[in-house]
Amino acid sequence: MVFTGRLVLARILCAAGLAALAAEPTLAQSNEVNIYTYREPGLIKPALEAFTKATGIKVNTLFAADGLAERMRSEGSNSPADLLIAVDIGRLQQAIDLGVTQPVKSEALDKAIPAQFRDPQGQWYALTLRSRIAYVAKDRVTDEALTYEGLADARWRGKICIRSGQHAYNTSLIAAFIARHGEAKTETWLRGVKANQARKPSGGDREGARDILAGACDLAIGNSYYVGLMRNGKDEDQRKWGNAIRTINPTFEDGGTHVNISGIVMARYAPNRANAQRLMEFLISDGAQHVFSDLNYEYPVVNEAPLPDTVKSFGTLRPDTLPLNEVARNRKAASVLVDKVGFDN
């Protein structure tokens, strides 16, 4: 029969599939540590490799854009996850709210990380800081300092580029605004920023720099480290975007610059708890902190860690003192406001 050949092929495919899958590591062993991460692991890989080299503990990672905390909750006590890494305080808080985490008590962590950047109960710890800053056109903007409040000024009408208001980086900034000024004032402000948009929110932070170079806008809101990535990257185009802009660390009128974190939590049913804590402590060591700021141009969370020149070039960072738990708490209200003022429309 004509069909036989294809059936055989199908069987081979199936068998090959099962064999290949069986060969994948499935269960956690004691000399391992398993990380679920919302953060693309490519950038933290060097730090994880250094950890394995130093301790002999193998690190397994699972990266996904969404749903990892839900996966941990579904998996329950069988979950292989030891740690969860996220690049936004909201994501960490969400995992805590879902009940998939456990507090960590570590003198090393408490000593190295400033109180503002860890949970008082030890539920989450920041690993790095990233400020939400302004990229401005080198040739068209002369300001030396800016406030977030001022982004709603009419002088910026049609001149601001920003990504979707529903992106975590912006939601957190708006949540911080709510924590400082209340919802009513935030709504007015958001409407002002909306009116100042040069284009519909889209793309990512780098596109803001690109659109500045193109002349489509004069000011873009973006995370600090993208500037380093653009300027030092291999991509010639991106280097041009990065060099077309100047950075300003805006502040709240009565505060500092909005800072978000990349952070880590311990899974509630972590099967390799000791290894996991060891890794947490390793990640705030000088070597690992150096990797983050050297490769990804983030601010180290540990005060004493030296800053690479690129990060220094972003100017002096004065982080806002608003507790990050406050930011996380106002995230929902921020997301609602974004829809309400039609920020992304």
């Binding site: 069909f3 039609g342 429309n345």
Partner: protein
């Protein structure tokens, strides 16, 4: 799984019209119910999650989100629907019934955009058409503009951009379905129309299209569902579709239940639309006769301006949906390999992708065949409903579906774990969730609709009389299935397998979330680069998806119009004569 194939001999006694053959066949019903239960479990889980919601998301959704999201979504669906229908049907018609330069090339090449993941095409077009893309740069250079503000240029990051990108990538669904039907349509039908005084154009609109309607509807439905559940491209292009609202509700407002509620309502709307379409053609019979090769009528030779018009009509979608984005990727990939060399780890990703997609294709086809077969032979209402239930996964946003998928899988894992513990004192942990099996399951749940729909279309082309004839001539049910229906369905089944394979190769959200530790596929590795903001570096993997999907698409093009074996032709013609 083979419930209907191992039908009891009692069926033989009811030698009455084919529809009745299986009416009381409990095996078919039970088998279908079982498949439906397994496949619909994630959707059911999602409804359960939706029902568990405590905070009411609807006032916000109705008051603030819907007025805008609904408009954007409706405009997007309408636009994409229009584009894929016009492009798909026109190109299919040209290729199937006309002769013009490059026809045999276009015949398969028009399928190529299927190989392109939508979000990658969106990235490519933003690169190409944005302010610094080659197009606008040339435009500026040509007219001496300095800044982006000096001139007007259509913005790719817009609703129109999204309609353009999705229309150009998704039209092959319609092309594929329509082309198969146009090839099989008996020339006699068209000849009759012509004899009755209809022009070629009139015959096309009043005979060929209405006859092809079920197939076109399947293609359009698939394309629109893909559009509806897309998040990646929509978000990147700045379109506020409902899926983006689902996402914001879940991730930013911390309400998975609320997100599930919106997703479920969207799902019900999709179901209503599908039912409406089916209701619209409930009284019509389309099976009729498949054409014999010599009955197909010779293709019309186009000449002069008409021929070049046909070439242009086929070349344009091919270029926009495939050549341009693939060319862009090729350039990026070549540059990357020249700079960094070729990373052999990459071949592992290829293996992972092929394994998962291949397994899913085989399983989805087997199940799709079973379902379509059961539905074809037992026309009970309950059965039809169950078959439709299995297609629901296709209409849900991928990540949301993945969340639903975890629920039954983890429950099963827990049961296995408990059983092995009590029997052998061994803990298996998360056996399924911890292996790639979860991903395969999610693919099958998601893409079964594609397989069932395609096989069903194939069944519609086979007259039930064929099987009856075989049975009269002493074949058993299985015998008739094996010697008559399967061979006749070969193109349809092959098409189904390849569609699922290609779709699974491109799938991202479920793959990301359900995969095991340290497990990369081509699509997750592309996404990894995109997440780092340097999707250009993922060009090699993106191109590999295209190439890996390219070969099956070639094969697909060949199989889906393969001539029927000689014996089949004899039977078909006999059957056709009896009408």
């Amino acid at each position: 799984m083979t419930a209907s194939a191992t039908a009891p001999p009692t069926a033989r006694r009811t030698a009455s019209p084919s529809g009745a053959l299986f009416r009381h066949d409990r095996f078919a019903v039970v088998g279908t119910a079982l498949v439906a239960a397994i496949i619909a479990a994630p959707v059911a889980a999602l409804f359960a999650i939706a029902a568990s919601g405590q905070d009411n998301v609807w006032p916000h959704i109705f008051g603030v989100v819907l007025p805008n999201a609904l408009l954007d979504t409706a405009a997007l669906l309408l636009g994409v629907g229009l584009v894929v229908t016009v492009v798909g049907v026109v190109t299919a018609w040209l290729v199937a019934t006309c002769r013009f330069p490059g026809r045999s090339l276009f015949d398969w090449a028009l399928l190529l955009p299927l190989a392109m993941p939508t979000y990658i095409v969106a990235y490519c077009y933003v690169e190409i058409l944005d302010a610094f893309g080659p197009v606008q740069s040339a435009y500026r250079h040509l007219f001496g503009f300095v800044s982006r503000r000096d001139y007007a240029f259509p913005e790719i990051r817009s609703l129109y951009g999204a309609i353009f990108v999705m229309g150009m990538v998704l039209y092959p669904y319609v092309y594929l379905c329509a082309r198969a039907v146009f090839f099989m349509q008996s020339a006699a039908v068209l000849d009759v129309a012509r004899t009755l005084g209809a022009s070629r154009t009139a015959a096309f609109f009043r005979v060929a299209i209405p006859l092809a309607r079920p197939a076109i509807a399947v293609g359009v439905a698939l394309a629109l569902m893909e559009t509806l559940n897309d998040i990646g491209a929509s978000e990147y292009l700045g379109v506020q579709s409902l899926s983006v609202a689902v996402y914001a509700t879940w991730v930013n407002r911390g309400s998975l239940a609320g997100a599930a509620q919106i997703a479920c309502v969207m799902l019900l709307v999709v179901v209503a639309l599908i039912l409406l379409e089916r209701f619209g053609r409930r009284q019509q019979r389309y099976s009729g006769s498949a054409a014999r090769p010599h009955d197909r009528g010779s293709p019309v030779q186009l000449a002069g301006i008409k021929a070049w018009g046909a070439v242009a009509a086929c070349l344009l979608p091919l270029a926009l949906g495939f050549l341009v984005p693939a060319g862009f990727l090729l350039r990026e990939a070549a540059g990357l390999i020249a700079r960094n060399g070729f990373d052999p780890e990459f071949l592992v990703f290829v293996r992972h992708s092929m394994t998962l997609a291949g397994s899913a294709a085989v399983i989805a086809c087997a199940l799709g065949f079973l379902l379509a077969h059961a539905e074809q032979h037992a026309r009970g209402r309950a059965l039809g409903v169950m078959v439709r239930l299995t297609g629901l996964g296709y209409a849900l946003p991928g990540t949301v579906l993945a969340i639903g998928t975890m629920v039954p899988l983890v429950a099963l894992d827990a049961a296995i774990d408990a059983a092995t513990r009590s029997l052998f004192g061994l803990s298996t942990g998360l056996l399924i969730m911890g292996s790639g099996a979860a991903v395969i399951y999610a693919y099958v749940v998601r893409f079964l609709a594609v397989a069932t729909g395609t096989v069903e279309t194939g069944f519609h082309k086979i007259s039930p009389h064929l099987e009856m004839a075989a049975r009269t001539l002493g074949r058993t049910r299985i015998g008739a299935l094996a010697t008559i229906e399967l061979p006749l369905l070969r193109p349809a089944v092959a098409t189904a397998a390849l569609l699922v394979f290609v779709d699974a190769m491109k799938e991202l959200p479920a793959t990301l979330l359900l995969r095991p530790f340290d497990f990369e596929t081509l699509s997750t590795s592309v996404y990894g680069y995109a997440a780092r903001g340097s999707f250009e570096q993922g060009a090699v993997a993106a191109l590999a998806i295209v190439v890996a999907a390219f070969l099956p698409v070639l094969w697909l093009a060949r199989t889906s119009r393969i001539p029927l074996p000689r014996e089949m032709v004899a039977l078909t013609s006999w059957e056709g004569a009896s009408h």
